[in-house]
């Protein structure tokens, strides 16, 4: 017989946990759900747009009755669970319905805090928590004129905005002197107040309510300063309190919330709890983002996997008032030990403040232009050292070089038909529709359902913004990001385990780190293959089946399933006989197209897979080897003419480029890796947008790193200057090796340098001479293993060559 799981609380946290559980253990439990409200699970954070008339109740339903039916979940709506028989493992509802459990999940959420002033129980005094409250407000707006909202926080302002839209005369009564003081500092709070006043909201700041007056129905408020205000409707939005009545009654340990450990288990091991009713490591969250992280962890334990750990969440907030963009995260007030970096432009309505401590972001608040909120938030969570680009910090990520979306900075202002994802042609409207209709909450979900940000990723910031403005507050991912769905471990943890435990094969890694899947997925296998061969070049065996097809077939797959072939041309230098051989191959195999590449090579396009070994054999015979134009590996060393011919050349850039390519070719790297050598500062080889760029000067060589000519155009940063070719080789090899050893798979040098900081690279390569020499030595050892021409291997070895041809040809 199946085990029984009972969920008390038919809201977002509880149902999300069930969804996560059904994904990994669909048949483990018979599930029963109790909900006090007479509805299916709906998106509570979208109540404000419902009040404002921008959405209907139907729009915000997350799980319809069909969903419960399809998953064989027994749903009791409109029934409040009033007691739990912990010994008998049974819950009892107010109408006498009972349900037995093997595991119980409490997700009772929170209640609005009703300030206990005299008159708080009069008719017309409500909180803002559920559909019933919204209905009450909408009815009141038709019959009455004056409304007062107590509390100028997020919820209060959204309620007030909605009531104004419904035609009421609304005053927000606020205890402090700054609106949303949990999210705003004084300056941005003033800007917010001004724009809300333009919309017709009135404010009574620094006001403490002492009494609600009236007969049966409320008619006014009295304040501590003696003032009075008329009101036909009072909405209390002075905060929320975890709803722990039930848990407390049955003796489950509670403080402010129901106390849970890192597995979301309460003090009763059979009872778990998630959501706003929970207190974890002393914190009770009142936002939605942490719920999803909690749901995932809790489901993992309910399914009996027992691996996941919840370590708390860092949250950020957005106000859902259409047309107002604000963002805040972390400690944006700061203290004596922190510094503020501030940009104010009042007439454009823009204010940004970033709070730094030891050159790390600890908080940020933004008003008017919030495009970089996600970027600051990411750096806050990653504890990124910003000293290397601090002077550009306030101008945003676009200023660091982004060819895709530098122009647009406010997703909320974009029309529905604005194209957000240029790769997959996804418009804003499509994304918003998917988020609301399918109940998406994370970037990963939006990517998989809409394909936005799923190809090159340059629109990730915009997609995150749309997600944030559509669902309210949201947190992209847990701080520690798992490599993929097959594991809980991050890239860094996996790399460390491979190194420390000497794991030399993919199965060894999967078993040591308890992979959830028997043989991984298309995302983790290539990463693991790279990690083991990079860490243990002499011990680990390359696994072709875990490589992407291009690296398995040593050629680039094209959209029609044919391949492109690029022979290596050292430093971009070629000869008549090489060109003749290439021309002959093209004729012989009727290759449809030839093209000169950006990296100074010749690309033969449209080669049939079964012809590949024969094409290579001919190119090999003319002295050419694989150009690795297909690999996460050294691609090309691009050069200019240099001092041999050029009247401006200061050094032999061509000769040096050839030497560097002979040293570095064949090496596997986390992502593709490009080098260029320019013979003078005119930089004709475009060395300053390469992963490693050398600019020759009269006195020697400038070494530049971390450039990228791709999605985000990033110019290199100067690593150092050296004076001899030997030094260039050593620094070049050492830099490549530290990137090979420490970057995440599919992370190019530009984002890697942004993550670790140029200072770190300088310390490893420039300042630490012994370390540099050791890195260089390790690079050369690895090259002894990997500097082999894969084309020649395929040509010479029957068992490899036959993989290129069909196993059988039928009629």
């Amino acid at each position: 017989m199946k085990e029984r799981l009972v969920l008390v609380g038919n809201g977002m946290a509880g149902i999300r946990t069930l969804e996560e559980l059904l994904k990994i253990a669909p048949d483990k439990y018979d599930i029963t759900v109790f909900g006090a409200e007479p509805h299916c699970n709906y998106n509570r954070i979208m109540l404000s747009p419902v009040l404002a008339g921008e959405k209907t109740i139907d729009d915000i339903i997350l799980n319809s009755q069909e969903w419960y039916d399809e998953n064989n979940i027994t749903l009791h709506t409109g029934k409040t669970v009033v007691d739990i028989d912990r010994r008998g493992q049974k819950v009892i509802a107010d109408d006498g319905t009972t349900a037995c459990y093997d595991r119980l999940l409490l997700a009772t959420g929170s209640n609005p805090f009703i300030i206990p002033v005299p008159g708080h129980d009069k008719e017309g005094v409500i909180g803002f928590r559920d559909i019933k409250d919204v209905d009450t407000m909408l009815v009141a707006a038709k019959q009455y004129k004056k409304a007062v909202v107590i509390g100028g926080g997020l919820l209060g302002l959204e309620a007030a905005n909605g009531l104004v839209i419904n035609g009421m005369d609304v005053t927000v009564v606020h205890l402090g002197d700054t609106l949303m003081e949990m999210q705003m500092d004084a300056f941005s709070g003033e800007m917010l107040k001004a724009s809300l006043e333009e919309r017709g909201l009135k404010f009574r700041m620094n006001s403490s309510t002492v009494e609600l007056t009236g007969e049966q129905r409320v008619s006014g408020l009295k304040f501590a300063d003696g003032g009075e205000l008329e009101a036909d409707l009072v909405v209390m939005a002075a905060g929320i309190r975890p709803n722990i009545d039930l848990a407390k009654k049955v003796g489950i340990h509670c403080e402010r919330g129901i106390v849970v450990n890192d597995t979301l288990q309460t003090f009763d091991p059979k009872i778990y709890s998630v959501g706003e009713c929970v207190q974890h490591r002393g914190v009770a969250y009142g936002l939605v983002a942490p719920l999803f992280e909690q749901a995932k962890v809790c489901a993992n334990h309910l399914a009996g996997y027992g691996i996941a750990i919840y370590e708390g969440s860092t949250t950020s907030t957005k106000l859902k008032v259409t047309g107002i963009d604000l963002f805040s995260a972390g400690d944006f007030h700061g203290d004596e030990s922190s510094e503020d970096v501030v940009m104010k432009d009042a007439s454009r309505g823009i204010y940004k403040k970033v709070v730094l401590r030891d050159n790390k972001i600890i908080g940020a608040v933004m008003y008017g232009d919030t495009i970089d909120g996600a970027w600051y938030f990411q750096m806050l969570r990653d504890e990124t050292d910003v000293s290397d680009f601090r002077e550009h910090l306030m101008f945003g990520q676009a200023h660091l070089g982004d060819s895709g979306h530098g122009g647009s900075n406010a997703a909320s202002a974009l029309p529905d038909d604005a194209e957000i994802c240029g790769c997959n042609g996804v418009c804003k409207g499509t994304i918003v529709k998917a988020i609301t209709e399918k109940g998406l909450f994370t970037l990963e979900e939006v990517k998989s359902h809409t394909k936005a940000a799923a190809s090159c990723g340059s629109c990730t910031g915009l997609v995150e913004q749309i997600l944030a403005s559509t669902v309210g507050d949201y947190s992209e991912t847990p701080k520690k990001k798992a490599m993929c769905g097959c594991t809980e471990h991050s890239h860094d943890e996996v790399r460390a385990a491979i190194r420390d435990q000497k794991l030399t094969s993919i199965p060894a890694v999967m078993s040591a780190l308890e992979w959830h899947t028997p043989d991984g997925c298309a995302s983790c296998r290539p990463a693991l293959n790279y990690y083991v061969i990079a860490a243990w070049p002499q011990e680990a065996k390359d696994d072709p089946q875990s490589r992407f097809i291009n690296e398995r077939a040593h050629a680039n797959i094209q959209k029609d399933g044919t391949y492109s072939v690029i022979p290596r041309m050292w430093g971009g230098v070629t000869t008549p006989s090489e060109l003749r051989a290439i021309a002959d191959v093209v004729d012989k195999f009727e290759i449809p197209s030839m093209k000169v590449t950006g990296g100074q090579r010749i690309d033969l396009l449209g080669v049939k897979k079964e012809d590949l070994p024969a094409v290579w054999a001919d190119l090999n015979a003319a002295g050419m080897v694989s150009g690795h134009g297909y690999g996460k590996s050294l691609r090309t060393v691009k050069t200019c003419v240099g001092s041999e011919w050029c009247r401006f050349g200061t050094q032999d850039s061509t000769g040096l480029g050839v030497k560097i390519e002979k040293m570095t070719w064949g090496s596997w790297t986390p992502h593709k890796y490009k080098i260029a050598v320019s013979g003078c500062p005119r930089n004709c080889a475009e060395a300053t947008i390469k992963d490693f760029g050398i600019v020759c000067v009269d006195s020697g060589y400038e070494l530049h790193v971390g450039g990228n000519g791709g999605i985000h155009v990033v110019a290199t940063q100067l690593l150092c200057r050296v004076s001899t070719e030997e030094e260039v080789m050593e620094y070049c090899g050492a830099f490549m090796q530290v990137y090979r050893e420490e970057a995440h798979y599919l992370e190019r040098t530009a984002p890697w340098i942004e993550r670790i900081g140029l200072s770190y690279a300088k310390q490893r390569i420039v300042e630490d001479e012994a370390g540099r020499k050791a890195l260089y030595a390790r690079f050369l050892v690895s090259q002894e293993v990997f500097q082999i021409d894969p084309w020649a291997e395929a040509v010479e070895q029957d068992h490899i060559r036959k993989d290129y041809i069909p196993i059988k040809k039928l009629g």
Binding site: P518, C521, P526, P544, Q545, F548, I549, I557, K808, L810
Partner: protein
């Protein structure tokens, strides 16, 4: 009922890999999982006709090399949230030899 055609030895298909059978009606990919199970699918992704045989095989799925759609090897069904289906063909291994039938399984097209 099925017309079995001998394809070759099972070891000729790499584990976690695939080989192609050319037919008059287009290529069919013969896949072999880590566990040694063998499956046959039309070698065209329902998305943009990518050659599935060139993808990475994991579990009982293959990931298309063009745009990373995941396809169930057993049924040819595309893994949600993407949608579609690649035709699957009956295939069996008898005494180390792989046999294929060219009559696509009826439950998909």
């Amino acid at each position: 009922m099925s017309n079995w055609i001998e394809i070759g030895k099972v070891e000729e298909i790499p584990k976690q890999g695939a080989r192609v059978v050319e037919t008059a009606k287009g290529d069919i990919g013969i896949f072999r999982t880590l566990e040694g199970e063998v499956f046959a699918l039309r070698d065209r992704c329902p998305h943009k006709e990518g050659p599935l045989s060139q993808g990475i095989v994991h579990g009982k799925r293959v990931t298309c090399p063009l745009h990373n759609w995941n396809i169930e090897l057993e049924s040819g069904e595309v893994v949600a949230p993407d949608e579609g289906c690649a035709a699957s063909y009956p295939v069996k291994v008898d005494d180390g030899v792989v046999y294929l039938s060219l009559e696509a399984n009826p439950d998909n097209s």
